[in-house]
């Protein structure tokens, strides 16, 4: 770790991508994500790195597909309506197993919605927003520092598994300013790109075909089996979470991203009042930390899923606890900030105090 910078989350993300060795960025302006594009528009051309402000999110994701399939480190960033537009391309990329990093700086929806922060795209991020049986690895930062740190991790994971990785952020994390340090120990892991379409037929002895088309049923099924085997491996190896005061908790909060910061504060305030509450914070929402949530379900009386949505992650929490303990939701939409008072009031009701 070196110097400290005061930066917006969006800028920190872009700077981290440059330091992680990005080879190309393709994006389209949309609030509250535009600072990422603006940052890249300044720095990438100066460094001789590919940068295109695309004509649409549809084009941007397909430029990512083309460039990523050349075995390069490629990124796009957008916000909710833009990510919806990208879903077709994301499905193709997932099937063709192209490594790349996608970022959704979420805003409120549905529809044109609001430019305020939201976590309403959880289903889209974790259940496959596009068509077919595919998964994204989904990382959920909760600070400007993590907005930077998770970029390195996202690139590494995408290359390790040849899978698109989504950083699921939100408008508040993108816009807020905090201090951030960029790691100076980062080394790009070795990456075998012989699968990539980068010319080199002579060396390989055959041309590369990047495709997501498998007309014969047996080949399509074989491809799906291959993908599922990879997803299983990811579920076994890449679950990431943080535990906060869970050791003696009677009630467990479950929250990711911006909500987890408010939930953490609520834990502190509740503990001042003598309430034994803890927090499980998923740092990956796919793969989902179901195992640890199940484990603690034997110790806590109930879970509260805290989300800036009407309740989406709560479904995964319920699946994890297999209906053995009550799971309730607390959330707000429209960009209205979650209230620690309301969280604590609800918590008291849930544990009968």
């Amino acid at each position: 770790m070196a110097e400290k910078y005061l930066m917006k989350g969006n800028e920190a993300l872009a700077e981290a991508a440059i330091r992680a060795g990005i080879d190309g960025y393709f994006g389209y302006p949309i609030t509250p994500q535009s600072e990422v594009l603006e940052y890249f528009s300044k720095w990438l051309p100066r460094k001789g790195i590919a940068y295109v402000q695309a004509e649409s999110e549809v084009s941007a994701i397909n430029m990512v597909y083309g460039a990523g399939a050349c075995g390069k480190r490629i990124m796009t960033t957008t916000s909710s309506p833009g990510f919806s537009l990208m879903q077709e391309g994301v499905s193709y990329i997932a099937c063709a197993q192209i490594p790349c990093v996608l970022v959704n700086v979420q805003r409120g929806g549905p529809g044109l919605g609001t430019i305020q922060p939201s976590q309403g795209d959880y289903f889209q991020a974790t259940k496959g927003g596009g068509h077919g049986d595919y998964r994204l690895i989904v990382l959920t930062p909760n600070s400007v520092q993590e907005q930077a740190d998770m970029v390195y991790k996202a690139f590494d994971l995408s290359e390790k598994y040849l899978n698109p990785v989504l950083i699921l952020s939100d408008g508040a994390l993108g816009q807020m300013m905090e201090t951030v340090e960029f790691r100076d120990d980062y080394k790009k892991p070795a990456f075998d790109a012989t699968w990539a379409s980068n010319g080199g037929v002579a060396k390989r002895g055959k041309p590369v075909q990047i495709t997501s088309l498998f007309i014969e049923p047996e080949r399509m099924e074989a491809k799906n089996n291959e993908l599922q085997a990879k997803y299983k491996l990811i579920e076994e190896n890449e679950v990431d979470y943080e535990l906060y005061h869970m050791e003696d908790a009677e009630l467990g909060f479950i929250a990711y991203g911006l909500s987890s910061r408010i939930a953490k504060k609520a834990v502190d305030l509740a503990r001042e009042q003598g309430l034994k509450i803890g927090l499980i914070r998923p740092k990956t929402v796919w793969p989902f930390p179901a195992k640890i949530i199940k484990e603690y379900s034997k110790k806590v009386k109930a879970y509260m899923s805290i989300e800036m949505s009407v309740g989406q992650m709560i479904e995964d929490v319920k699946l994890a606890v297999e209906c053995k303990i009550p799971v309730e939701h607390y959330g707000k939409t429209g960009g209205i900030v979650l209230s620690t008072d309301e969280i604590i009031a609800k918590a008291k009701k849930m544990i009968g105090k």
Binding site: A54, V58, S59, G66, I74, E88, P207, V208, Q209
Partner: protein, 258 residues
């Protein structure tokens, strides 16, 4: 630099060699010119000796399996997005020639935005546009390029231009952009035109390799199956209707953003 082979103790000059296409039977319908286009692209790759310097993009449409035939690295795009993929490739591998093969549904309808913007940016790519005025792959529906009055599966009474607009002449649009360096309309209905088409492909690939801007080569083609005609009848209709509406020749031979 003529190549020779020895047979029965006698030396012969090689005047023609089978193109180095992949060993796979083409799926194209009898009489369709798609196979000619792909064979010519392969011939150009072979003759220039640039198999390692070319990356192609296949569309959704009849050329979807182009990567099974053309012997170079290729990517298969989503419907209409070939020019976006090609942009991505050309930007991160600027020393390669990048080409797309696209039909009129792909390029002129669902992918018109990608096509126009790639041309306007002057991406160093070669776009090979197979315009046969119909959706071939899906069974012969009306395309943006379908001729006035032309009967298709989705214009059973003939294209009504009051309802569907006039056929889109994409080459005429993209020739206006500074980004394009070469815009031409060719056909493959006879040997003379096939040779001209090959020259056009050569020039387009050369432009891409030398970063001169976007080349747009429209092949005014036929579609016996989609037009519901025999190959012979389709050639007649091709010459009498298609080539009249889409006149052949170079629309632009110089350009590119300086």
């Amino acid at each position: 630099m003529s190549e020779t082979i020895t047979k029965d103790g006698q030396e012969f000059e090689v005047v023609w060699k089978k193109p180095n296409l992949q060993k796979k039977d083409m799926h194209y319908c009898p009489g369709c010119a798609h196979g000619t286009l792909e064979k010519l692209i392969q011939e150009v790759i072979d003759e220039k000796g640039i198999q390692d310097r070319v990356i192609g993009v296949a569309p959704v449409g009849c050329a979807v399996f182009a990567y099974d035939y053309i012997n170079c690295d290729m990517q298969e795009a989503a419907h209409g997005r070939a020019c976006a993929l090609a942009t991505g490739i050309a930007r991160v591998l600027p020393d390669k020639a990048v080409f797309t093969i696209q039909g009129d549904g792909d390029l002129a309808s669902i992918g018109l935005a990608e096509t126009l913007h790639a041309c306007n940016r002057g991406e160093n790519i070669a776009i090979f546009f197979y315009n046969n005025a119909i959706y071939g792959m899906t069974g012969g529906q009306m395309a943006p390029t379908t001729l006035p009055g032309q009967v298709t599966a989705s214009s059973p009474d003939g294209r009504d231009c009051k309802l569907s607009g006039m056929p889109l002449k994409v080459a005429d649009i993209v020739k206006e952009f500074d980004g394009t360096c070469y815009v031409t309309r060719q056909a493959a209905n006879n040997a003379v035109n096939v040779r001209k088409l090959k020259k056009a492909i050569e020039k387009a690939i050369d432009n891409s390799l030398n970063k001169r801007g976007t080349s747009f080569v429209e092949l005014v083609g036929n579609c016996p199956s989609g037009w519901k005609m025999t190959p012979v009848d389709s050639y007649k209709w091709w010459e009498e209707n298609m080539l009249k509406f889409y006149p052949l020749g170079d629309l632009k031979t110089e350009g590119g953003i300086k």
